[in-house]
């Protein structure tokens, strides 16, 4: 037994693994909570688009020698604002607006990055993510941004809930629907920046969508869905880092695949539960009293 315990404990004796697991957990928690709104509104595409857009900001900040997180946040926020503006005009469908704007923003990032003769490791770590390379400064920044995002969700809980559930009713009650929707995009933008260094541009979407989708399968209310999503996110972060440590594979990919495995498990579980209920219903010979 001590062998197993030692094996469980061993990775966390290393400083870079300690920082890595903290960063991965921070990113997972925030992304899981915000991801619930993305999944419920059926805008998974935006969870892919905003991290890409954040990259252009990171690249610009890199060239200018400014803070990369601030650059990423500005890039994602501006993109979110433009998408919201285009979609609201009604001339374009929402996902068309997203498609046009985020590719342009990403191309701008690539263009800026190509001004340097070679991509440097620093910039690359944002594309593919390198959770084991985060420093304490990164972690403090992630915690600060994450705290702000979660506080805003708690503060505007009722508005976010009704606008996500029934925007028509929200408008009829006098809730500023456009403003709340724009604010939600801003929250997704900030979350992308938090998760960028942990899992990289390409995989942030998975952290936003997969845990939340798992929560939707299992919960009966939004707080329940968020609790499940956070649990799945945390489990994926820790499990993924174990896999990365012992199998020597990319931590970000391992985290995402761990989340996918948990989603699959939940899907099978909910299917089985539904089937059992149907069988019990048939056996009882009709609707129960």
């Amino acid at each position: 037994m001590p062998n197993i315990l030692d094996a469980l404990r061993e990775p966390w004796t290393l400083a870079f693994m300690q920082r890595g697991v903290l960063a991965a957990c921070l990113a997972s928690v925030v992304a899981s909570v915000v991801g619930c709104y993305i999944v419920l509104r059926g805008m998974a595409f935006i969870g892919d688009a905003l991290p890409h857009a954040a990259f252009s900001g990171v690249a610009a900040a890199f060239l200018a020698g400014a803070n990369l997180y601030v650059g990423g946040a500005v890039g994602a926020l501006v993109t979110a604002f433009v998408i919201g503006l285009l979609a609201r005009r009604g001339a374009l469908k929402h996902d068309t607006a997203v498609g046009i704007v985020f590719v342009a923003a990403f191309a701008l990032g690539v263009l800026l990055a190509s001004r340097r003769s070679s991509y440097t490791v620093d910039l690359f770590s944002f594309v593919f993510g390198n959770v084991l390379a985060v420093g304490w400064q990164d972690i403090w920044l992630m915690a600060l941004l994450g705290g702000i995002v979660l506080a805003l969700v708690a503060l505007f809980w009722k508005e976010l809930l009704i606008v996500t559930y029934d925007p028509n009713m929200a408008a009829a009650l006098g809730v500023p629907v456009n403003l709340v929707q724009q604010g939600l995009l801003a929250l997704v933008a900030l979350t992308s920046v938090i998760a960028l260094k942990a899992v990289g541009i390409v995989l942030v979407a998975a952290l936003l969508v997969t845990p939340a989708a798992t929560g939707q399968l299992l919960a009966r209310s939004l707080p329940g869905m968020m609790a499940w999503a956070v649990a799945v996110g945390l489990l994926s972060a820790v499990g993924g880092l174990y896999a990365a440590y012992y199998a020597d594979v990319s931590p970000s990919a391992a985290i995402v695949l761990m989340a996918t495995a948990l989603f699959t498990l939940a899907l099978l579980l909910s299917r089985t539960r539904a089937r059992l209920r149907t069988r019990a219903f048939a056996r009882s010979g009709g609707p129960a009293a």
Binding site: L40, Y165, D166, N168, M169, A171, L173, V175, M225
Partner: protein, 252 residues
């Protein structure tokens, strides 16, 4: 009754989409405490009219008065068409009813004890209190309508605008819902129910507004349920049969 300000008055209302009118010079009024049908075929502008009264659609021209004044969101309850709602959303019946209170709360304030009480009473009123903890996904069609009506009642609105509440319901469930509407009207609420189901209106409603982009007729049912009105409202969408002084209508 004539001296009393009507619950709803619409005058010379025009609106539409992309420069094309959906409603043309719509004028009518509805007395307080009555169960009124807003009748017309699909695409006649019923939903647009309700949305304009609610302030969700901007009028090009014309005016709306609710209880003699500008439409106040608090005094207007609304239930949208059930298709427009995501029934897979993880939310309970009680939480939906509680949303009716949001308009009274303003930004940042959370529902308090009284709000919960009002939401609970609304659920009791529509017979959904025993299902308050259910996820909305588990509801039947009739229960879905009742939940949305409870939300409108939780607003403590005096005028309820209901968009196609009978669509897709079996006859017995429709009847239960009709009885609920009649009871609410008897308690002093005013209900405007958009529907293309003529038989429901003909047998149970006090008033009707016949709409096909324009108002064809409005008023007490016995005054407006005439062959020419029906012909003009439904045009090719209705089969009329006159026999022994009675008109029989059917949707082909």
């Amino acid at each position: 009754m004539g001296a009393e300000t009507p619950a709803l008055r619409v005058e010379g209302l025009w609106t539409g989409y992309d420069g094309r009118p959906a409603l043309e010079d719509v004028t009518f009024s509805i007395e307080r405490g009555c169960l009124a049908g807003l009748v017309g075929p699909n695409g006649s502008g019923k939903s647009t009219l309700l949305r304009t009264i609610l302030g969700l659609q901007r009028p090009w021209r014309g005016q709306v008065w609710v209880f003699g004044g500008r439409p106040e969101r608090r005094r207007l309850g609304y239930t949208p068409q059930t298709e427009s709602i995501d029934w897979a959303f993880p939310i309970t019946v009680f939480e939906v009813a509680l949303m009716g209170r949001y308009g009274h709360l303003g930004l940042l304030r959370r529902p308090g004890k009284r709000d919960r009480q009002v939401a609970w009473q609304a659920l009791e009123r529509v017979g959904m209190a025993d299902k308050a903890r259910r996820r909305i996904q588990e509801l039947s069609g009739g229960e879905q309508r009742r939940t949305l009506i409870a939300r409108a009642l939780a607003q403590e609105a005096e005028l309820l605008l209901l968009d196609e509440p009978f669509a897709g319901l079996d006859a017995p469930v429709q009847h239960d819902l009709l009885h609920l509407f009649q009871d609410l009207a008897a308690e002093g609420k005013t209900l405007l129910v958009a529907t293309h189901d003529l038989s429901c209106v003909a047998t149970h409603f006090d008033h009707a507004v016949f709409l096909n982009r324009r108002v064809i007729a409005f008023g007490r049912l016995e005054e407006v349920l005439r062959e020419d009105v029906l012909q003009e409202t439904f045009q090719r969408h209705l089969l009329l049969l006159s026999r022994g002084g009675q008109i029989y209508a059917e949707h082909p």
